[in-house]
């Protein structure tokens, strides 16, 4: 644990606790004001409740050059990244990919290479369409572990998170409250519903929220496409390739478009934001991750468009290579934030439930 990061966040949280002006912006402050002293676990929980909207930075009368030097979005972003790195197994991977965009690019190249090798070495046993390049069984053999292993790793990390933030046994209502908040990205709207202070100093804007929505729903649609296809394959014996009006295609194409546009827009938006209000050392890793995710979407779309041309085998290897890399890196990149954020919202729902019971 980087105690200096926690200590700095604690110092700032104590100032906020005496001030309280930002109470209306997000769920960090009500949670913060419920305590008088902050344990390391409290700070970790606050950090994971924060989504870096920066409202509390631009509103703060104590930012530098004032001696109190408040920059809560940055302090919490640093604690947040440090907490993800600490909880993740294996740790060295997290430490590398969270901060190094180059490492992500390298992993992507390795992903491509693996898939090219697979198409050459394993090849097909005479399937149709994509399966003519790589057999269905081979795809399952590669992607099932590539999907499940990261999930195990994340589950393991979340347990550590839960222990540190002193989580209680989860009730159904905690989950529904948390999912509702995440689904609407309520906090990204800020307390008054006008969005973040991200790309243009203190101007409130919905850009970040809408772009984040596009990415999240784009990703979920792509995921739904694959899941539906799996069910169709095993459940109903309906095998790919599917037509345009089939569920996998409709989900996949709309998801791919949202994902590609969303990631492109997010990368541009981030360029306009002030790096020093986030975690500057995670900049490269974050941009690398956004580009990787966007590439997954884009390469999927290109594959769809050029699926019946001679380019298809190469495009398939490239797309599948990026998907493989993306899955394997999930626990070690910004992708992990979704899981932690949900856990933090569940924990916060528990806190509120406790408070209302006491009253």
């Amino acid at each position: 644990m980087q105690t200096d990061l926690i200590q700095e966040a604690r110092r700032q949280a104590e100032i906020c606790n005496a001030c309280r002006y930002c109470e209306g912006y997000c769920s960090v402050f009500p949670s913060l004001h419920a305590e008088r002293a902050f344990s390391d676990g409290d700070i970790t929980q606050l950090a994971n409740l924060c989504h870096n909207c920066r409202g509390c930075y631009y509103a703060c009368q104590y930012t530098a050059p004032h001696a109190f030097d408040l920059n809560l979005p940055k302090a919490l972003a640093e604690v947040r990244r440090d907490s993800w790195e600490r909880f993740t197994w294996p740790q060295p991977l997290a430490r590398r990919f969270h901060t190094h965009g180059g490492a992500i690019a390298l992993a992507l190249v390795v992903g491509f290479a693996l898939l090219f090798w697979a198409t050459r070495a394993i090849g097909s046993s005479g399937g149709e369409g994509f399966y003519a390049v790589l057999s269905h069984n081979a795809m399952v053999a590669i992607f099932a572990p590539a999907f499940l292993l990261p999930l195990f790793s994340i589950a393991f990390s979340l347990r550590r998170y839960w222990a540190e933030v002193n989580g209680k046994p989860i009730q159904m209502s905690d989950l529904t409250v948390a999912l509702k908040r995440a689904g609407k990205m309520q906090d990204l709207a800020a307390g008054h519903g006008e969005g973040c202070n991200f790309e243009d100093e203190d101007r409130f804007s919905q850009a970040r929220r809408h772009i984040h929505h596009a990415i999240m729903y784009g990703f979920l649609l792509c995921f739904a496409s694959t899941s539906v296809a799996t069910v169709m394959h095993y459940g109903f014996g309906l095998h790919a390739p599917y037509g345009f009006w089939s569920l996998p295609k409709l989900f996949g194409i709309s998801g791919g478009v949202l994902l590609t546009l969303g990631c492109g827009a997010m990368a541009l938006l981030k360029q306009k934001s002030d790096r020093d209000l986030g975690d500057p050392s995670a900049w490269g890793g974050d941009i690398g991750f956004i580009l990787l995710l966007g590439f997954v979407g884009l390469s999927g779309l290109v594959l769809y468009a050029l699926g019946s041309t001679p380019l298809m085998p190469a495009l398939l290897a490239i797309h599948l290579g990026s998907v493989l890399t993306f899955f394997l890196l999930t626990p070690y990149t910004k992708m992990a934030h979704g899981f932690y954020r949900l856990a933090a919202l569940v924990r916060d729902a528990q806190r509120k439930r406790d408070v209302s019971m006491v009253r």
Partner: protein, 464 residues
């Protein structure tokens, strides 16, 4: 922006709430407006950047405000704190207009939130700004920019040339150079003079050197004294300032709200000789913190020390600096440079004077009092016995000064021989016209908003 080349209709001096309200209103009326703000951009907004709410009349639920708050109730609350030293005509104007200010503020970008935790008593009377005064100031600068108002930061106005009944020109320094502009009209909204320690010392005497200034270091009264020197009519007592007791470790300037200390009612307060000097439990703290500013100012070295024990630590809002902590009183005395034996004696005498404490109630006047002690502690008097013991130092923190420009109901300034055709004033710099003494939480922003808008309207009408 570099040196302004354009001719402006109106120059607004200052960059806080009153200045911005005036500038936006004038620009909406079609005037070309320049704001001259002496602070650099990160410190723009004067004392307004430290505020959290404004007090607003309302005949029914309005925005974040619950129930109703009538003109008469508002006025009677004001008269209670000013002891009648109030211009009732201007006060009623401010109060009555405050109701239409709230929606106007929202239209100009201000967002409100329910009253902050720990301030529930204000939910009916005061509307809290989401994110506090700096977010209000930010929103106004954005709106003003959209209306075409130009802003020059680090532009310190030094002189307004008064020629019989009008201002001829405005001098200011910018990037080390003297500049002069000749706007048709001028609005002064540059606050009080509390940040000029020499002036404060002249008015208050030597103790003022030890005062802390709760807000901006830029309100040094330069324009105020320039105008007073030229015979512009003033109002208010130069020896009066609004001061409260704050944490003695606060920075000299700009400590703002977080230096507030709410521990006094649960403590005993001693001076540097370890002697008590006033009833700590006279009333609830929001009604007493201003009195304590003066009480501490009257003690040697203008410092006080509040001492509590373990059982009281969680009864008040946390403060920005953690208290000094020791297991024994003499140890605490050592940390605070107090005579240890004397402190022990003072605490013992206090403890011996405490009686039945079963009725103790931290948020109400509970009548749990000392007997036979001078000065007494008339509420919340519980013996200080449970280690660890905690200590906070107290100093006088000045909020603003009362001496200001005298204005009429159109916010216009005058000399003894009549109105000045093209000079208006708004905000703290004319608040003395309404507040003779005392202070009502949230009234400063009301005065600035109401008179800022009036000044903007009148100046634009004159310039057009």
């Amino acid at each position: 922006m570099a040196t302004p080349k354009e001719a402006y209709d109106i120059a607004v001096i200052g960059g806080g709430n009153a200045a911005l309200c005036a500038a936006m209103t004038a620009a909406e009326a079609g005037a070309r407006v320049l704001i001259l703000e002496t602070a650099p951009k990160p410190y723009r907004g004067g004392n307004s950047r430290h505020t959290r709410n404004f007090r607003c009349m309302h005949s029914g639920p309005l925005g974040p405000l619950v129930e109703a708050y009538s003109e008469d109730e508002y006025l009677s609350d004001l008269l209670k704190v000013t002891g009648g030293k109030t211009d009732e005509h201007l006060a009623r104007l401010a109060i009555r207009t405050s109701e239409e200010c709230l929606p106007w503020m929202e239209e100009h970008g201000v967002r409100f939130q329910p009253s902050l935790s720990g301030t529930l008593s204000l939910a009916r009377t005061n509307a809290f700004f989401m994110g506090g005064g700096k977010s209000l100031v930010n929103a106004y600068y954005r709106t003003a920019a959209g209306l075409g108002v130009d802003v020059l930061y680090e532009a310190a106005v030094t002189h307004l040339e008064l020629n019989s009944d009008q201002i001829e020109w405005v001098d200011y320094t910018y990037e080390g150079q003297s500049q002069r502009i000749t706007p048709k009209a001028v609005i002064v909204a540059s606050g009080g003079f509390q940040a000029d320690t020499d002036w404060l010392t002249r008015a208050w005497g030597e103790p003022a050197k030890n005062f802390l200034i709760r807000g901006t270091p830029y309100n040094r009264g330069v324009v105020l004294s320039d105008l007073l020197d030229q015979g512009v009519e003033s109002v208010g007592d130069p020896t009066q300032c609004h001061a409260v007791a704050i944490d003695g470790r606060a920075p000299k300037f700009d400590g703002g709200i977080v230096t507030r200390l709410d521990c006094v009612p649960f403590s005993i307060v001693v001076n540097k000789d370890a002697e008590r000097f006033y009833d700590e439990g006279e009333d609830v703290w929001p009604k007493r913190y201003a009195i304590w500013g003066r009480l501490v100012a009257a003690q040697p070295d203008q410092v006080g020390y509040a001492i509590i024990d373990a059982k009281s630590l969680n009864l008040f809002m946390p403060s920005v600096f953690p208290p000094l902590k020791a297991d024994r009183l003499d140890e605490l005395a050592g940390m605070m440079d107090l005579p240890a034996e004397k402190l022990k004696a003072t605490v013992s005498a206090f403890n011996a004077a405490c009686g039945d404490i079963s009725g103790f109630h931290p948020t109400e006047l509970d009548g749990v009092t000392t007997s036979g002690l001078i000065p007494p502690k008339t509420n919340w008097a519980r013996p200080i016995t449970e280690p660890p013991f905690y200590g906070y130092s107290l100093r006088t923190g000045v909020t603003f000064t009362y001496l200001g420009l005298k204005v009429d109901e159109t916010a216009q300034c005058s000399t003894p021989s009549g109105k000045i055709k093209n000079l208006w004033a708004a905000g703290e710099t004319m608040a003395g016209s309404i507040l003779g003494q005392g202070y009502l939480a949230g009234f400063g922003m009301t005065i600035g908003t109401v008179f800022g808008r009036i000044a903007g309207r009148e100046a634009a009408a004159y310039a057009n």
